[in-house]
Assembly symmetry: C2
Homo-oligomer: 422 residues x 2
Amino acid sequence: MTILNATHDPKLRSWVASANVAGCDFPVQNLPFGRFRPAGSQDAFRIGVAIGDQVLDLKAAGIVDTDDMNVLMAATVAERQALRARLSEGLREGSTQQAAWSQALCAQSSVELTVPCRIGDYTDFYTSVHHATTVGKQFRPDNPLLPNYKWVPIGYHGRASSIIASGQDFKRPQGQTKAPDAEVPSFGPCRRLDYELELGWFIGQGNAQGMPIAIAQAEQHLFGVTLFNDWSARDIQGWEYQPLGPFLSKNFASSVSPWLVTLEALAPFRAAFERPAGDPQPLPYLDSPDNRAQGAFSITLEVLLQTEKMRLAGEAPTRLSSTNTTRAAYWTPGQLVAHHTVNGCNLQPGDLLGSGTLSGPGASEAGSLMELSAGGKQPIVLPNGERRTFLEDGDTLTLRGYCEREGAVRIGLGEVSGTVRG
Amino acid sequence: MTILNATHDPKLRSWVASANVAGCDFPVQNLPFGRFRPAGSQDAFRIGVAIGDQVLDLKAAGIVDTDDMNVLMAATVAERQALRARLSEGLREGSTQQAAWSQALCAQSSVELTVPCRIGDYTDFYTSVHHATTVGKQFRPDNPLLPNYKWVPIGYHGRASSIIASGQDFKRPQGQTKAPDAEVPSFGPCRRLDYELELGWFIGQGNAQGMPIAIAQAEQHLFGVTLFNDWSARDIQGWEYQPLGPFLSKNFASSVSPWLVTLEALAPFRAAFERPAGDPQPLPYLDSPDNRAQGAFSITLEVLLQTEKMRLAGEAPTRLSSTNTTRAAYWTPGQLVAHHTVNGCNLQPGDLLGSGTLSGPGASEAGSLMELSAGGKQPIVLPNGERRTFLEDGDTLTLRGYCEREGAVRIGLGEVSGTVRG
């Protein structure tokens, strides 16, 4: 159980002026970790903390002696909390560190950010019952939501090597597809290229093989969260995915945002999760009073699209959808950790647990084009008159996320964006 | 295309006498790479080459300057061939290296071997049409072999963190299962614990993201092969696997043999692969004259079981089944590489491609207990009278593999074994 402390005080302000601007993603209450280097350099990436529009270089400030984020992520909860307290004290108004730490600041606009850590294993879950139902209808009209869904936090392994940093383009994949009325499959560029609005939960301390993590301890093993876009080739997926699950339809690229927003920073945005009336209660290894009372997190999510035509015309991205995790997720992050390890599977610092596509119940809350366009049958119309069923070359897709509530300072997850190239 | 050269000469003998014994897995024609350290030590693992019952320490012999197998695996084909030629020349009878290299030898019985490299991403394929059909019948009686099977080399991502070295025990996993007649799932130890007889193909040089590897170049990216046992919890698998594939039923442990037998060593054991009459030909990206003529490899595989009772009675392991890859695999290793990257997915040195369970067409050629016991309905009877449908605590399962043909010296893959603990 996380308890609010002085680092969450809404009255705290930073001596970094940009951190105090209303709507800023990175106030002194946030303090997310990322990896950066001077833009255009080939230096090794270093660990930094986002504050306003600046990055604090943790090594230059004498706060850590490593450039390896995975080492930092392996810290105990007590060590993490101590580090957070030190950062909060040093960055707040009136701190005696101001003179020294100002020397270790650089503008975010002057740095290159990257994938926040070395990702060992990547697992993708399927935590939105709305997404599972809508997509299930398209792949299996007679059997949309499978009988295991409300018992098993469905997940599968993904590809770590092809996870890319925000801002990095990727090539439209090629592959096998088979139209329903075709006798044999054909080969060519994906024609139903989609995004998936996800969160990426990163593992901090791991567990030894054969030693499950109980739900009561599960959150101690979560370091932080990012935005995550699991680009998907729906036509390839439909033909390849049975019986062992999606493969080439997913592993050509996934994009992750640069800033790890810690569990400590998320503490004011915890939420209860009660299952809808009539749904079975989780098995004991997935259940605890704490998990029910505050195992969920309230994070607002947005999807934005900017087509090449919009970009050339200087038009801002348009919002495709928006939802909140409390409306979308059927399983809490703690439940994902407890489930993943209940068989003895070992998690390691830097492992990534994708939430799966976070679609809320409403039509405007869908986290993929497959849902928004009813499987490609109903094109969406953009403000400039362009239409989309799936993504076209030159499209830039951006995910944003933030937490807000009465009595707390808003914190942001930043954004992740990527552009499709032909 | 690999051409036989002096390193394959069947007349070659080694000055390491044990390498010349008939039936030895590691004659001078083999020269597989592994990682070792003195048994009982906590030293860093070093790179060695198996020769007879000895290991040649490559750094001590002045042959490499790294302890990092992944660095060695990233070498070009020309570099690998040069290294093989040097090892072959130095280890053969009459070599001028004998005096110097003898100082860099140690007995295999005196060392600890481990997983042969740092495994980045692990993919498991499904290359035996016989396994796919038999298992498909059990999970989907009305629909055993899915329509995509003969077109798509079906594969999915697995868990790298839980891959363990030969000889390492593992704990029987716990998890959710649901009996067909039960209303709700229950939780407890796996009751249908199985092994899977597989080969592990390891990637050498990788490819850049977005740049597929053509089938003509595919084998240049394969470094070598090991035995691989993908332990499986069938009762957990049956309940969890839809719609995204197996997850906790697989990721508690997989065991890999210590020696990477190189593509160069396998050259004399290449085989043609012709599809059965009436089967569709592969799409062009999976097809080439070379792949048809010699894209397959002839490797004989055996499964051995020793129960705890047998061990206590001093009884040798009993053979459960045996097959040959040419009878079991519907796709060649080159086709797996071409398929995996055709969408732009990037492979990296040390990545592992599991073959999937290699079951041949005959009943005695099945690569899992699920097949041998007809899904648990027909127990197999062991020589001591014990019966097995699935694995019991204390059972030790061993996979062995070797290549033999007229006119070539037999080479072995060694073995991988593991014991189930309660």
